[in-house]
Symmetry: none
Subunit: 247 residues, 2 copies
């Protein structure tokens, strides 16, 4: 195919997305009934359990009674502002991810939110899929920090926190894109991943390259990490399907 009109707007570095995650309960804090309904449908269709609260106070009570896996929080709330709810939840349970729905894309707003402890935010016109993606990312991130941030196989150690890779005790320098690719592959070990999926999850919509880009990154990973790059053991190609990482 041909022309690549350059994506519009400023690209946002969307992090890698989750594979299939165990879906838990989602607490939606939102006062507009229409949005309530829509969000409920959206998340229920994804297999989440959904609880909706219309104001900050009720949200906090619900949170204490039955802590959810993730919170979707509208900022404009009656009774108790979204910011206060956010702070309160983070004070009690810093590990629970919170994704904020905000009305404006104001930068100072963003800073404020992150100060409040929100993990991510989605601004006004957002696609349902984008919200889902962020929730999944938040969940994955939460479970990751709770679990292993360090993976080892063969003679290779991948430290997700330090973003560092070692082979046989020696540090291997990976570029940003290489590391992201590696991370996604490692986190989806044993599963065949198509180029499209890699492009979506690692590169994201904003920059969606084509042709041999993925292959080239696999090539680099092989050269840097395989003992014999010519006959890769870990970064396997599934001809006609994609690639598969096997530890």
């Amino acid at each position: 195919m041909g022309q690549t009109a350059s994506p519009l707007g400023t690209a946002r570095l969307s992090d890698t997305l989750a594979p299939t995650l165990p879906s838990g309960k989602v607490l939606v804090v939102e006062d507009d009934p229409a949005v309530q309904k829509a969000l409920r449908r959206l998340f229920e269709a994804e297999g989440f359990m959904v609880e909706v609260q219309a104001n900050g106070q009720a949200a906090l009570e619900s949170f204490r009674a039955a802590p959810p896996a993730v919170v979707i929080l509208d900022l404009r709330l009656p009774k108790l502002s979204g910011g206060d709810v956010c702070k309160e939840i983070k004070a009690h349970s810093p590990a629970t991810p919170i994704v904020v729905l905000s009305a404006t894309s104001d930068v100072s707003d963003k800073v404020l939110l992150l100060e409040l402890g929100a993990d991510d935010y989605v601004t006004k016109p957002f696609s349902p899929r984008e919200l889902l993606a962020r929730v999944r990312t938040a969940l994955r991130h939460a479970s990751k920090t709770a679990n292993v941030s360090r993976l080892a196989f063969d003679g290779i150690v991948v430290d997700l926190r330090k973003m560092e890779v070692q082979r046989d005790g020696k540090v291997v320098v990976l570029t940003a894109q290489e590391f992201k690719t590696l991370q996604f592959l490692v986190q989806n070990a044993d599963r065949v991943i198509s180029r499209d999926e890699l492009l979506n999850e690692v590169w994201g919509y904003q920059n969606y390259p084509s042709t041999r880009t993925v292959d080239n990154h696999i090539l680099k990973l092989r050269q840097k990490l395989e003992r014999d790059p010519a006959s890769p053991v870990h970064f396997r190609t599934a001809h006609g399907m994609g690639y598969k990482f096997v530890p």
Copy 2:
């Protein structure tokens, strides 16, 4: 070869299987002839079958007559608004992904898209590559929902996630097409499946080979998976009708 040029009436959802998409039909609902043409070219170049409708009413009729794998929907439409079309389709067939095309002003309200039930949206002007990416993601997602990822029978294990097959604990290497064929057969166990149906479901609309192609793939499956390929137990021939997989 009865060349049933794949009548569009196949409402089946099951043709979405692999991580790579064997294509399907795209319904484009768009009134601007220039955009129509561009979209048609874009998707056809990617191997999709494209149907274009210029207004909401025609779109709905077309949808009922021959449900597509995915809908690309402009919000501004004559006769019936894009929003109504979206709602109607989602009410009728919630599993079909819908990607909305809109001017930014149309989606200024975050409620709108959620309420409509659209899966994703792209604002005009958009990059062809981005639209494709979103459509692909939507399709992949639609196919992934509610799917058993592991099937077993006799001494054979089919792992859809790993895209790997084992017989008696030993990994059997299948090619992409072989795997897709196997998957379809296994998922329709005990039913006689005609060559035409296999061609439609496994090979897809676009590439429609002929003659002995299906037979050859069955042959390969027998050789790789049957204990005695000469007298197949699982991949049975239904003379004059097609094949049948028996667990």
